[in-house]
């Protein structure tokens, strides 16, 4: 161990969580794996490790990307580090019955091969307790229809990076309307050239400017939906 190295075991819980936030920020995958195991060994629930350490750290990464402090590769390195921690936690989360907030089918639209943002959203949504089915890139409307029919998600998420491909989101939404199933799903959209006005104009429920916002928006809509279902049941 060099003079610069720090034994994570010597840190108390608060210090370790803060340290893991820094390590996540720096994309230090091995350190995140070690920190995750230490917190579990100390009796933390997998859900707490995920939300209080990894998701909290990744939210800061997302904010700094949005503010122009971090570049895409650095965000990807942080995401890889988070993924390493999640790989440890995932089987444990299933065993311990961690809360599932909702489910989502997500994919990049037809004609578009860009998936960095979509992948970050998928990961953050999983971290927040959503079950995510990622149908990948270049998806025609049929792929979305097949996936929502098979998985019956709460949310349909669509991503596009290009001005030329973002109008395809409208095609998907109009198809849902034609089939009479538009209101069965919360439709969230995101991608660099999008904005609130565009999302509204195509009939989406919400625009998510980044992965952290996507999680908050998804939680809000799902909670609202559950409230409505609850109100109907009580009526």
């Amino acid at each position: 161990m060099s003079d610069d190295d720090l034994d994570l075991n010597t840190l108390n819980d608060d210090e370790l969580v803060e340290q893991m936030g820094d390590d996540l920020y720096d994309g230090l995958k091995e350190e995140i794996e070690v920190g995750t195991r230490i917190l579990l060994d100390r009796g933390w629930t997998p859900y707490d490790v995920l939300t209080k350490s990894l998701v909290a750290g990744m939210t800061i990464v997302g904010e700094d990307f949005r503010d122009g402090i971090l570049y895409v590769p650095e965000v990807l390195m942080a995401a890889n580090a988070m993924k390493a921690g999640m790989a440890i936690l995932k089987p444990l989360l299933a065993e311990t019955g961690a809360p599932r907030i909702g489910s989502m089918v997500i994919g990049t639209v037809k004609g578009d091969i860009h998936d960095i943002g979509k992948n970050l959203v998928s990961m953050m949504m999983e971290g927040a307790g959503f079950e995510v089915v990622d149908i990948g890139i270049n998806n025609p409307v049929e792929n979305y229809l097949d996936a929502i029919q098979e998985h019956k998600p709460d949310i349909l998420g669509m991503s596009a990076l290009l001005t030329t491909t973002m109008p395809y989101m409208k095609v998907v939404i109009e198809t849902l309307v034609e089939k009479g199933i538009r209101d069965d799903y919360i439709v969230l959209v995101g991608g660099a050239p999008l904005n609130e006005a565009f999302a509204e104009s195509i009939g989406a429920d919400g625009y998510c400017r980044d992965a952290a916002v996507a999680v908050e928006t998804a939680k809000e809509f799902v909670a609202r939906r559950h409230n409505m279902i609850g109100a109907r049941a009580n009526a």
């Binding site: 161990m1 060099s2 003079d3 610069d4 190295d5 720090l6 034994d7 994570l8 075991n9 340290q19 936030g21 820094d22 390590d23 920020y25 720096d26 994309g27 230090l28 995958k29 091995e30 350190e31 070690v34 920190g35 230490i38 800061i60 904010e63 700094d64 122009g68 402090i69 971090l70 570049y71 895409v72 590769p73 650095e74 990807l76 390195m77 004609g111 091969i113 860009h114 998936d115 960095i116 890139i137 270049n138 290009l162 001005t163 030329t164 973002m166 660099a192 050239p193 999008l194 904005n195 006005a197 565009f198």
Partner: protein
């Protein structure tokens, strides 16, 4: 990043201190040994001295710095060099299209301070602004280059569509982007600091098409080198200035005065 070792003691360590200055220090905006703080992007104001408005009697062309040379070449060939005043916005905004609408609006409003009816043209296509540039153009009565981006107006819309349809995973370079691949793409997208992330960023791409505005062997070699560095198949398509010429034709006094 520290190497992983089988040693338990090593595996429970974190390199706090010397090597780990890139963490939240970057967020606070201080300089960072790990290089996580971005270089400041030139502001409009910073460039104003060099690109002021000295000829309010002429139409103004607000253009993307990444097509400045090409635009000047077309203006010169069209005999319009002295008929239009030009001001450029930072070429690095190619990577930050969300800054373009506000940048154009600021310039246009500045230009019309002394002459409210001054014709103002915009040397951008939509360029990733998702319609926000159109909103500014409509509100301020500005005319921009038709199409989604410079690749399309250099290649011509139908030829560009054919290229994109033939191979979706195509990354495009123009003369400007080939010449400035290092600062704009390699460094500008953060790959110089983290080259191991190249495949994560470009893994869905299969080829690089260099849309050449000029016949320049040195530039072609640079574009080919860029393709090699991104691990993409290389193709060169000569476009000339394409539909940029049509746009510049529209700047002629008789054209801009037409109803």
């Amino acid at each position: 990043m520290p190497e992983q070792t089988p040693d338990d003691d090593q595996r429970s360590t974190s390199s706090r201190g010397g090597r780990r200055t890139g963490g939240r220090t970057g967020r606070r905006g201080s300089s960072s040994a790990a290089g996580t703080a971005r270089k400041p992007v030139p502001t409009i104001e910073a460039r104003e001295g060099a690109a002021g408005f000295r000829h309010p009697e002429k139409p103004l062309l607000i253009l993307c710095g990444a097509i400045a040379s090409e635009t000047q070449a077309v203006l010169s060939a069209s005999g319009l060099s002295d008929a239009v005043e030009i001001t450029a916005l930072p070429a690095i905004w190619h990577n930050f299209p969300e800054r373009i609408p506000e940048g154009v609006e600021t310039k246009a409003l500045q230009a019309r301070k002394g002459r409210a009816d001054r014709p103002v043209f915009v040397g951008y296509a939509d360029c990733g602004t998702g319609g926000m540039l159109d909103e500014v153009c409509e509100r301020l009565d500005l005319q921009r280059i038709a199409g989604p981006h410079c690749y399309s107006f250099f290649a011509g819309e139908s030829r560009f569509d054919a290229l994109a349809d033939a191979e979706l995973g195509t990354f495009y370079l123009t003369d400007y982007l080939a010449r400035h691949f290092e600062p704009l793409i390699w460094e500008g997208m953060g790959l110089s600091a983290n080259p191991e992330m190249r495949d994560a960023m470009f893994g869905s791409y299969t080829r690089l098409v260099y849309l050449a505005q000029t016949d320049d062997a040195a530039l072609t070699a640079q574009a080919e080198d860029a393709a090699r560095r991104l691990d993409l198949r290389f193709e060169r398509v000569f476009t000339g200035y394409g539909e940029l010429g049509d746009f510049i034709d529209g700047l002629r006094p008789e054209a801009s005065a037409a109803p």
